[in-house]
């Protein structure tokens, strides 16, 4: 828990047992397995179990994955307290939902449920105008928005890397964004920002899973006082199994195999290590690349064919097995070439008692303390990664020694406590009108 968050939640709040909470998520985890919807649904489950919550509902957008009923916007395929909104025509550029029926449908639902708190994970699929609909329907309700990625800031899937180079980007501006997307004018990007911020001003509190992401949003113009850092904690798990040392240092990559996840950095480092004749380590790649664009798939499959013997593709894995797979590793590799926010794989590694070797940027550098929870290397640099791995192969105990002192990942109970504290906090006063410094 960060200093800022403590300050926020320690304010004496009127005890308001029996809160009514509506959790909204851009997808339903029954049909989609992204981190945001899983986090939202876990929170929903924890809230329902909490004695402080009188009623709790889950409203997910279908994202095209749940067929709606003809002529109806809301359906209940997953039980009495869960709703699915089926709309179409979402505008990913300005995160707008032009569905003219949605404001009325949502208003009817809100009037019926009368939640005290509406907690949104993500604004995709619902649209940022949904914040206005909520505010107009329930002027006294608290609106909480958990941010995922840098979606409001960056049109490049919210990842703040340049197009097409994938170079790291530090700040959005109409001029720079137009360079990444020449098909959109500078004015379009300016309008995009005006539009999204107009509705963000209706949010009482933003939750950011990382300080890094909070800082980026603050730099973008969101009042820093309104952003609270709360990690999306995971449910409790079995205690880590100690590593049975064998002769080679074993390092694992887990997750989606994509360019932004740094898969090329990893393979290039393996080639460098092979050329240098470095021995005493091997790399396992666990994950799926079937959902990637065809050009990437072709390139990646060629890489696999020519890969040196020190790196090996193990393919997709069931999420429930990740702990067991990680237990076989000495460390988990996270070579992402974008900033990340608070990647789940880091929490999973820590829960498995394994240190993390990661790029030295953004949410990665924040969550993994260099030399404490793992080691950093220069983001995007195979040479830097190869040098680090060479050093660790020579002295594997440096890495294995970390396992005992790793950070404890926040649990779901901690997330619940912090989130409830936020719900209890007084509503934000009239949202401050932020002025963009040109």
């Amino acid at each position: 828990m960060t200093r800022k968050q403590k300050a926020r939640t320690s304010t004496p709040a009127a005890a308001l047992p029996g809160q009514r909470v509506l959790v909204m998520s851009h997808m339903h985890p029954a049909v989609s397995h992204g981190g945001a919807e899983i986090a939202a649904y876990q929170l929903y489950g924890a809230l329902r179990a909490s004695s402080e919550v009188a009623a709790c509902w889950f409203l997910a957008a279908s994202g095209g994955k749940v067929a709606g009923r003809l002529g109806a916007r809301l359906s209940q395929p997953f039980g009495p307290d869960e709703y699915v909104y089926s709309g179409a025509g979402f505008d990913h550029f300005i995160h707008a939902n032009p569905d003219p029926e949605w404001p009325g449908e949502l208003t009817r639902l809100l009037t019926e449920l009368r939640p005290d708190v509406i907690h949104l994970h993500h604004h995709t699929n619902f649209g940022v105008e949904t914040l206005l609909t909520i505010r107009q329907a329930l002027p006294e309700a608290r609106i909480i928005l958990t941010l995922h990625e840098y979606l409001a800031i960056c049109n490049h899937f919210g990842q703040m890397v340049k197009r097409p180079s994938l170079a790291l980007c530090n700040a959005a501006s109409p001029r720079d964004c137009h360079r990444c997307f020449p098909e959109r004018t500078e004015q379009d990007f300016f309008l995009r920002e005006l539009y999204i911020k107009r509705f963000f001003r209706l949010v009482d509190r933003f939750i950011s899973p990382s300080q890094f992401l909070a800082d980026r949003y603050a730099a973008w113009g969101i009042d820093a006082e309104r952003i609270v850092v709360i990690e999306n904690g995971m449910p409790a798990a079995a205690p880590p199994t100690p590593r049975v040392p064998d002769c080679d240092l074993t390092l694992g990559f887990f997750g989606q195999i994509s360019r932004l996840k740094g898969i090329d950095v990893l393979f290039d480092a393996a080639i460098l290590l092979e050329k240098a004749g470095t021995t005493g380590l091997r790399i396992e790649v666990h994950g799926d690349h079937s959902g990637q664009p065809p050009e990437f798939r072709a390139l990646f499959e060629a890489r696999i064919k020519d890969a040196p013997p020190n790196i090996e593709l193990h393919g997709p894995y069931a999420n429930g097995r990740v702990g067991a797979l990680m237990a076989r590793m000495d460390a988990v590799l996270v070579p992402s070439i974008w900033w990340e926010n608070s990647p789940l794989v880091i929490q999973e590694a820590f829960r498995a008692g394994r240190p993390v070797i990661c790029s030295d940027i953004g949410g990665l550098a924040e969550k993994v303390r260099d030399g404490v929870d793992g080691f950093h290397f220069a983001a995007g640099s195979p040479r830097s990664l190869a040098a680090l791995l060479t050093a660790l192969a020579r002295a594997p105990d440096r890495l294995r020694a970390l396992s005992a002192r790793l950070a404890t990942p926040p649990g779901l109970d901690a997330t619940l406590a912090a989130t409830l504290g936020l719900y209890r906090a007084n509503r934000a006063h009239a949202p401050q009108l932020e002025v963009r410094s040109a």
Binding site: A96, N97, P98, D99, P100, E101, W102, P103, G104, G127, E129, L132, T133, Q136, P174, R175, E186, Q187, F190, L191, L194, Y195, K197, R198, F199, R201, L433, E434, V435, R436, A438
Partner: protein
């Protein structure tokens, strides 16, 4: 020079009534209008006559409903043995259009110097008016007997002209003249603008006219309203064979009133008449008009690229009158408007915000999203005018969605056709109900730090009765100034006409905090607020301006002409996403449209002082 055997005292020739009884000077035996010859022919006899070599007389033809005078006249005397010593035969040609003037009352001939009495020749009764063919048949034998003078030869040549018979006869001329007519554009009500080329290497052409079945109201030759334009294609094809190198063989010319509304009924089309110095004429048909209205205007604007020293002539003589007439006729038609309301507007709005939409319909989404944030805007009414009718379906979908999402009521007015920025605003003004009007562009967006911009501008007008119109400070998206008031500056590269300038454009706003409205010469129409009563009294934007510039400046100047002031309140800050390169060398017509507006603006407001040669 003197009149021989001059009889009786002079008497003014009445036009309305027959001449008073008195000894006649002679008679007109027959007369008529001969279009091929190019005027009125009179044949008769006279007791008095001039010397053969005298300068041509001043001739006035009096008809029951008017007279023909001050035109080129040729008079030839010929022998009339039947009259003996009592007089001589006389043929007179008055080169004038054949207007319907009623029956001839008499012909008045005066010595060029005018010191002696005029001859008065009434028609023989019953009055004999003949058609061209009969006139020529009867006059030619008489003329052949006349003394051989230059006038006699000229008149004979004119009489030998054949009338236009619907076919091109240029090739029959005894001169190397080639004319290509690419396009004829109707200029309402009865004018024609011609776009083409003309090759006349020996300068054989004396004059060209656009003639028609009905007589022209404008006797001036086409050459007086003629712009030379480059036609490299013509030189490359036709001109090369004749060794021509100057590409300026193209032309845009205007016949502002050729007498024949066109395209009209009865298949009657005007034609081009080419007259040589030697007197011969030939004809060329005009191409069938393919464009009218805005398309015709655009074709004209595309055809020319006058240099800065040619602009006055180009716009005064050809482009200005042609475009003004085309524009006026286009906008003169009725303007049916459909109104679609989204939500319920306040019963008595303080201000009516009028926004024309063209091109980008999605600006409505942004604008209503941002305007809906300030509760004070609920006191006003918002009116969109669609000036891009093909976008109607897209707009109505967006509008429905925007209204449902943001809850801000507004109306959309849909005229049946694209009318242009000024007329679109005027339609909005006609439907407005507020005490005040805010004319706003669709790409102007409220800034989060100044949500009360409109209330402030209205307060300025309420606080100062001497203030007529107030503008806002408009910023680019990077926070630099787009507008904080207009000044006028004469641009030497644009005919030295005054253009509205944006001082401090592109620079960061001044640091000192404004405390109230500041007087300026004019403000941009992108955001201006004035009382509706004043706007109505002034008739809104002047629709003489095309497409959308200068009408805002014009309105400001008209407000100031009433004695009221214009000001900018820099505390009212909005963003203006002024689009890039509306005017670029790539679209000369757009550039020329701006010049047309500048010309209109200049002639209206800066007619008195033109220090063109002072610099």
């Amino acid at each position: 020079m003197s009149l021989a055997e001059a009889p009786a005292a002079p008497a003014p020739m009445p036009t309305e009534r027959p001449a008073a009884p008195r000894p006649e000077d002679g008679y007109v035996d027959f007369y008529g209008h001969a279009p091929a010859v190019g005027g009125w022919l009179f044949c008769g006899w006279s007791r008095g006559r001039w010397r053969i070599d005298a300068p041509p007389p001043r001739v006035v033809a009096h008809f029951r409903q008017g007279r023909v005078e001050k035109v080129d006249a040729i008079a030839c005397w010929f022998p009339r043995p039947d009259l003996g010593q009592r007089g001589a035969g006389l043929v007179v040609l008055l080169r004038a259009p054949g207007l319907p003037l009623g029956e001839l009352v008499g012909l008045e001939l005066a010595e060029a110097g005018g010191r002696t009495r005029a001859l008065l020749l009434p028609p023989v009764r019953p009055v004999t008016q003949l058609r061209e063919a009969d006139l020529v048949t009867r006059i030619r034998p008489a003329l052949l007997q006349a003394p051989h003078t230059p006038d006699q030869a000229r008149l004979l040549t004119l009489l030998s002209r054949r009338a236009y018979a619907g076919s091109d006869t240029l090739h029959e001329l005894p001169a190397s003249v080639r004319i290509g007519l690419d396009e004829a554009l109707p200029v309402p009500p009865d004018g024609v603008a011609l776009i083409g080329w003309c090759i006349d290497p020996t300068n054989a052409i004396a004059a060209m006219h656009v003639r028609g079945p009905q007589a022209s109201r404008d006797p001036a030759a086409l050459g007086t309203r003629w712009l030379r334009v480059e036609r490299a294609d013509v030189i490359a094809s036709v001109g090369a064979a004749q060794g021509l190198t100057d590409p300026r063989v193209g032309f845009v010319a205007l016949a502002p009133a050729c007498g024949t509304p066109w395209p009209g009924g009865h298949g009657e089309a005007p034609y081009l008449e080419v007259e040589l110095h030697s007197g011969e004429v030939a004809y060329q048909r005009l191409p069938v008009p393919m464009r009218a209205g805005a398309a015709a205007a655009r074709r004209l604007l595309e055809a020319v690229r006058p240099a800065s020293d040619e602009m006055d002539h180009a716009y005064d003589r050809v482009l200005g009158p042609a475009l003004t007439a085309i524009h006026k006729a286009r906008l003169g038609r009725p303007r049916p408007v459909t109104e679609i309301a989204f939500g319920t507007m306040p019963a008595e709005p303080v201000c009516s915000i009028i926004v024309p939409l063209y091109g980008r319909m999605d600006f409505l989404t942004y604008q209503t999203a941002l305007l809906s944030e300030h509760p004070g805007n609920r006191a006003h009414e918002l009116i969109y005018v669609l000036d891009d009718p093909p976008c109607k379906r897209e707009l109505l979908d967006l509008a429905h969605s925007a209204h449902r999402r943001f809850g801000l009521p507004f109306r959309i007015l849909v005229p049946e056709e694209n009318l242009g920025y000024g007329p679109a605003n005027n339609i909005g003004i006609g439907h407005a109900r507020g005490e005040f009007l805010c004319l706003l562009n669709s790409d102007v967006m409220p800034a989060p730090e100044a949500p009360d911009w409109l209330d402030r501008m209205i307060a300025d007008l309420r606080a100062d009765a001497a203030l007529g119109l107030v503008g806002a400070m408009l910023l680019f998206e990077d926070g630099t100034v787009q507008h904080e008031g207009l000044t006028f500056e004469r641009l030497p590269q644009q005919a030295n006409w005054p253009f509205p300038m944006h001082p401090r454009k592109g620079l960061l706003p001044r640091a000192e905090t404004p405390t109230g409205p500041e007087p300026v010469e004019a403000v941009t129409g992108a955001c201006m607020v004035l009382r509706r009563a004043l706007a109505t009294e002034l008739g809104g934007f002047d629709e003489a301006y095309a497409i959308g510039d200068f009408e805002d400046s014009d309105l400001c100047l008209r407000v100031r002409a009433t004695g009221l002031g214009c000001a900018v309140d820099r505390r009212a800050r909005l963003y203006h996403l002024e689009r890039q390169s509306q005017v670029s060398p790539d679209n000369p017509w757009r550039h020329n449209a701006t010049l047309f507006n500048a010309w209109t603006h200049t002639r209206r407001w800066f007619a008195e002082a033109n220090p063109k040669h002072a610099e």
